[in-house]
Symmetry: C2
Subunit: 297 residues, 2 copies
Amino acid sequence: MFSGLSAFPITPVNAAGIDENAFLRLLKRLTRAKVDSLGVLGSTGSYAWFTREQRRRITELAVAHAEGIPVMVSIGAFSTDEVLRLAEDAQQAGASALLLPALAYQGLTQEEVYGLYHDVAHAVSRPICVYDNPRTTHTQFSDALYARIATLPNIASFKIPGVPEPLPAAQQRIAALREQLPAHIRLGISGDQFAATALQAGCDLWYSVCAGLFPYAAKALYEAVKGESSQSAAAQTQRLEPLWALFRKHNGSLRVMAAAAHLLGDTDAVCLPRPLRMLTDADTAEVQRVITELGLT
Amino acid sequence: MFSGLSAFPITPVNAAGIDENAFLRLLKRLTRAKVDSLGVLGSTGSYAWFTREQRRRITELAVAHAEGIPVMVSIGAFSTDEVLRLAEDAQQAGASALLLPALAYQGLTQEEVYGLYHDVAHAVSRPICVYDNPRTTHTQFSDALYARIATLPNIASFKIPGVPEPLPAAQQRIAALREQLPAHIRLGISGDQFAATALQAGCDLWYSVCAGLFPYAAKALYEAVKGESSQSAAAQTQRLEPLWALFRKHNGSLRVMAAAAHLLGDTDAVCLPRPLRMLTDADTAEVQRVITELGLT
């Protein structure tokens, strides 16, 4: 589960709720491309907007159509009690791993964040990936907190939100993290534009949003890194810069990926859960232009 | 509903879930003090940590024991669909008004925030209070957005997160807001330490956390302002400064009010939903010292 390229698809909706057929079309792209794992109901998979019942259904669908590829599922919620219920649901539905953010409403102390991971880690029977993304969860992890959480049972991976650039700074950062964490912990990079640098700097895997719709482009980048051609990896990242620029422009990747999924014909014109809105016509036209120029259509 | 002193109690839990007896003890303090309205399941009421079923049950309990005092209930959730379900529940349970935050996960555009209020305002049959609190919801309202939302049906009040000080700056701010909003909109101040200044500057009511446990102290402050003795109002605010200092120290009022509710004998020693934690023994002792010195016990 915790190596290679992990693809995070969106979860499309339509007027009736979850658009299951559209979701299966998106999954098909990923199983055909043989990504190494699926990250379902991540931030990009809109977990925060769905009910417990919807999340269970999406997990069941993903596992049933994953063609043997391991599925990781977010169990994030404000309340520890709800997280534990979601973990039980995910395990019963066949998830291979659990993605756990520390979602803050009032701001959590480091002790409260540790307590969340402690309580969940001792209750589950699947490996946990610690989801560190202050932009969405509003929780900051210190390195000391990483180290404490890493000693808990079932903690297998950290999904980190980026690395400093250029490469030597990233290498220093990853080395410093490794020093504080047990050897079995797998470090995964999130934030697609940092992926090449982070993988070259020693991250074990890539938790990728763009792979959730464009798995071949993501594989090309991943393989350029693993082929140990840093020139080629940098060129791949540079090539995709217009896509990263769209992510930055639209406050994250979600609205851009939803627009792209519709442009590729996989979803309805409105496929994001309210109150999220689809991009304007002008912005959608820009997404069309970028993915066409990048050969992603 | 939208005048005077609106008291926001905590919603205590115990090992079994909602601690209904403790909640009723807290309510009794407020009905005995004859506060003007109750704000149930606000941020301080931990709405974000409870399930839909728990929120319905708390609303029913509050309405049944409010002794005729109007009850406002938060219907906040990430998803508009869930907000609409919660609104329907709250209305059926007898809530007099609905408190609606724009809870952001990925960050909401101004258009998305407007869309949320639009969709809910057109679906409900009770007045809505717009909850503006960037610290918990991570949504920023512009004045232009206030003005647009205020034109929607059922929008009755804005709960604003503070005012600039000193008084002339606050007066200028409230006057500027009034100019942009229809005359029927009631402005309520949140953030207890700003209450005296904001009420003197022309706010219509006080949405008060400290009134949720110490209604007589809050009434004394409110009445000092309404008696138009700005000296006396300033003295009341200054008197309570050690309490405001605790709110600032502990990242908001919730953990302090939970500690105080236990110290007053109304709740179990652990009365906050996980992953929230009760204050340490040393911090709890400080809360005890402050409320004793202020005569709040």
